[in-house]
Symmetry: C2
Subunit: 620 residues, 2 copies
């Protein structure tokens, strides 16, 4: 069971196929690990992220395309223009499976096209085509045009948008204009290469070793998801808004607070009552957790772009002080239309709002906008300005880390980023493991690189997974003992596995729809390999270690594994008022983590650890 990879050189207009031998396919599996493999092998350290020399990898995986729910995610990875380090982002949807059906597990993009282009893959027919006519088009427009060109509405398109063309540093990649490879600025890299989209039509069969077993797993999933995960169909990720608010860790007004007075107005249940038009899902998945919202009111929200996830409601909503779900939905529409990561976008705006309220920015600086917390119209307008790099939007398009340099030294205190990437919508003061994850994540603050911690609001699923790994005593969300470090270390491997074999966290989490056991069964049934949980978890560890090595090559140091000062201050409100993270203990915990991983005291993986993971070829 070997795999094919497309290698596309935009500078030379050259397309080649590379075969991954079965042994390497089993070693790297896809997604995060496979993408890291190419980045470590082929990218020269020190390369400027937005230069033609950067490499951009689209990596599906060994499972994707098989008709089982929860395994559709694929990775886009590159050197990140936000962090200057390892960048990756995962997305579900339909594109990953389509690529597999076309016969490829991954695409590696090199160089830069002279003019805007897109890549067209029709099974084994692959060509670069001019995208001159697509320049500046919204993501939705682009999809319609390409599908019309080929008269095939089943074409799946991964693209960056106008924001990517403008190299907004947190431009994202989207498929079906709503499933985002959100973080790390992968859309900016795509834009820097003059590659607007990759359109795929795949009609091939997906190889499966044991069709009977696959049928059995699929049937089991379809029979059981309603009992296990109905809430997720009912409310989607927005269901988390009220839970996090009640726990006191819903980021509010640029992380100044942990509760939001309008939380119920922007909640999942409110969405169901007001804007929800329908529910959509990913390839092969019955849960349909994705929201589709519509409004013909003040903001005219276009359902083509889906609806806001929890992270988007947090970043454009509570974190900007905006309690208007319609404004948030419009903001979501614009982010998807222009190709912006909603998290970084929201945090960039909330940062500007805080600067405005503190007098660091004047109304002149904001091009006349009253950029107060809670101003939904200003929030929506700012998204447009960022995407098109207009006025202050041009500065915020650089991300809060660089914008703060522009705004002056006081502003730096309000720039909520780690390693240059804006912080997602989980305040770590109420779940310390998330704090470790934010600090350690190779991509900077990133909830997809960060396993969930046992939290006050979860339903025990974190500890369900942990118990399979031998951690069966529930740890307090506020605990930052060495046992929390251990829990984090184990779960992180599992999360990195998900990012490698494309498992949807929402399928894997709740009471075991895709439990560790099921993942072993599934991987065996698909591949025929006698793969075990041990090997799978080690693959997750491998992915994380490769990303770490990438950053070390780029000069990252242990000091980069740090939270912004604000998160060490006590929470100011809500049930966790007064709760902080002890900075000394945090630093010590990070060091403990290094040692647990087989890294040295500076966070550099030992040669022996690399050998254990068969990464002896990695040069750090």
């Amino acid at each position: 069971m070997e795999a094919k990879v497309l290698k596309v050189d935009l500078t030379k207009n050259k397309i080649e196929e590379e075969i991954i031998p079965e042994k390497d396919y089993r070693r790297y599996l896809g997604g995060s690990a496979l993408a890291s493999f190419y980045l470590l092998k082929e990218l020269e350290p020190g390369t400027a992220p937005l230069s033609p020399d950067n490499i951009l990898v689209f990596a599906s995986n060994v499972l994707s395309g098989v008709s089982v729910p929860g395994i559709t995610r694929y990775t886009v990875a590159s050197k990140s223009p936000l962090t200057g380090g390892f960048g990756e982002a995962e997305a579900g949807g339909w594109w990953g499976p389509e690529l597999k059906k076309a016969g490829y597990v991954a695409i590696v993009i090199y160089g830069k096209a002279d003019e805007l282009q897109y890549l067209w893959i029709q099974d084994n027919k692959v060509e670069l085509k001019s995208a001159r006519h697509l320049k500046g088009k919204t993501t939705g427009e682009l999809e319609k045009i390409i599908r019309k060109e080929f008269n095939d509405k089943n074409i799946k398109i991964a693209q960056t948008g106008p924001a990517g063309e403008k190299m907004v540093r947190y431009a994202c990649v989207l498929n079906n204009a709503k499933h985002a490879n959100g973080r790390s600025g992968m859309g900016a890299v795509m834009g820097s290469k003059n590659l607007r989209a990759i359109a795929v039509r795949g009609t091939g069969e997906i190889f499966v070793d044991n069709e009977e077993k696959i049928k059995e797993i699929r049937k089991w999933y379809h029979s059981n998801w309603k009992d296990i995960n109905y809430n997720f169909f009912e409310y989607g990720t927005p269901g988390a808004v009220e839970n996090l608010n009640e726990s006191g860790i819903l980021p509010t007004r640029n992380f100044q607070l942990g509760t939001f007075e309008f939380a119920s107005d922007i909640s999942g249940s409110e969405m169901n009552k007001s804007l929800l038009k329908e529910r959509e899902g990913c390839y092969a998945c019955p849960i349909r957790c994705k929201r589709v919202v519509e409004s013909s009111g003040k903001y005219r929200v276009d359902p083509y772009y889906g609806g806001p996830e929890y992270e988007t409601i947090g970043s454009l909503g509570s974190n900007c002080g905006v309690g208007d779900l319609e404004a948030i939905s419009k903001g979501n529409e614009l982010c998807n239309k222009y190709g912006l990561d909603t998290i970084s976008t929201g945090v960039a705006i909330s940062f500007a709002m805080e600067c405005y309220e503190r007098g660091i920015l004047s109304r002149q600086d904001t091009d006349g906008l009253e950029l107060n917390f809670g101003n939904g119209e200003a929030m929506v307008e700012m998204i447009r300005k960022i995407a098109l790099r207009e006025g202050i939007g041009d500065i915020l398009a650089e991300g809060v880390f660089r914008a703060a340099e522009e705004f002056g030294s006081e502003a730096k205190d309000y720039a909520m980023h780690i390693k240059g990437q804006e912080i997602p919508m989980h305040d770590p003061r109420g779940k310390t493991g998330v704090g470790l994850g934010y600090g350690i994540s190779p991509t900077g603050a990133d909830h997809i690189e960060t396993p969930h911690d046992p939290s006050f609001s979860d339903e025990g699923w974190v500890m369900d997974i942990a118990a399979t790994l031998g951690i069966y005593e529930t740890l307090d969300p506020l605990d930052l003992s060495s046992q929390k470090v251990r829990l984090f270390s184990y779960l992180q491997k599992v999360y990195n596995l998900y990012n490698t074999i494309g498992v949807c966290n929402f399928s894997a989490w709740p009471q075991g729809l895709l439990s560790p056991d099921k993942l072993v069964e599934l991987t065996r049934a698909v591949t025929g390999w006698n793969i075990s949980l041990w090997e799978l978890i080690k693959a997750g560890e491998k992915a994380n270690t490769m990303a770490r090595c990438f950053n070390i090559r780029e000069g990252f140091e242990k000091e980069d594994d740090m939270l912004p000062a604000r998160l060490f201050e006590p929470l100011k409100d809500g049930p966790l008022k007064g709760q902080d993270i002890d900075r000394d203990r945090f630093i010590e915990a990070i060091k403990e983590y290094y040692k647990m991983e087989g890294w040295d005291e500076n966070g550099v993986p030992l040669r022996e650890k690399l050998e254990e993971l068969e990464l002896e070829w990695v040069d750090i």
Copy 2:
């Protein structure tokens, strides 16, 4: 699912029960890990091994007693009088399951009885009884007497023999007078405590969570073992003699050679033709790999004591240059009768033979015996002298390390031991992973602490297990690369797991009778815990780490993880003639292993590794 432990203080004549809470039972599981738990918690570092202050642990495990083949082994552990470090030895047979049926998972023995005693356990009735009438009796005699006393031939007896009473440093513990906890001198510790035997009659039910699943596994095993492992029934471990001879690594004449000219005369097939009377097995096992031999010829071999295993044939046979299977069988009978470890006994005799041939020992020193290699009669007589500490036997009873001190400095070159324990019958020059194992094993040279390496003669089963763990490229037996270190490190965890949950290597090895998958199924079915392969392998790692910590507390250093000089010299004969182990590379490989394990450069586990394994309470 909690467990009960008997705590028996011989000094105070006090017997207590201790409950292990379910969480700790799951953490330590039994065997090696559970015994280490007690030794680390309760034994003062620096205690003299043969003093009343030493502690002796008999530890069955969470699986034992369930009517499934291959899970009967139990551990005897203590501070070893051979090495002064961690001592443990496993035995199959019938005693472990019987203890479980009596309601106990383990027994911890403290102090020293005034006079020889034995412990009598009849379900929950436990008492210390005088063994005055058993003093000096052979193991067989003792069994008959006790069974007659209670008129119950189903009583299972673990005992040391006359050699244990005399504190021969490598006296063993035996059950049914033929299943030996052979290594580490556990019988000497038992003798030092004036405890001759532990007789058990258990009639209780063994708790099982999922009886249906257990039935299914049992049925599967019974239906499949013949296809998978018939050779083992047919030839038992003696089947290995010819394989190892053909590979050139059958220890011969005190490890001077790797082939033996009379190998076929002492082989498994020869045994079948000549001395084999019947085949016997362990509790619940259909394979019956144990040999029972009989002879009314020159040596009159009593079938009560079973027959020689491969290790015994190597140590008393080829390694003493003895090509007479009847003499070897007699030697085996005597070792079992007196309670001597056959490996250490054979190596002690071969050591004396080499000293004799080299003129270090005179005929006067040997009490008139012509102690040449190949003298079967002298070998047999030496066993008796060692067991009863007669003449030169009294010196050899101390083990080769101490005997060499007696015999003078030249003799030290011929003392084939590691950490004070004699080397088993696998020459590591033809399988380097075994060399690593010998060096690293916490008990000194020990084939039960040492995973098999891919060898020239195996049938791929080592790589079968390795492949489950993600190592699926077969490594050469002579390879000592970092990938061999990794293979060793992974397999060692598996072996330590076997020593912890009582898995018989011969059931686990060949093509998966008790494959890693089956072990997970089985452990889940027995316990009802959602335990995974990850947790099981981590339990193996935990056991090994605890033993390492024990040794560190006792002052062991990295220099102790070393092979004797002879094993670094080129092999002198056979297909591997000229093959050596490169000493520098070996030392480097050991260091690589330390780092892979999360130990420091001196082989001391990092605090963070202890935390990961929930061993933060261990004080090193």
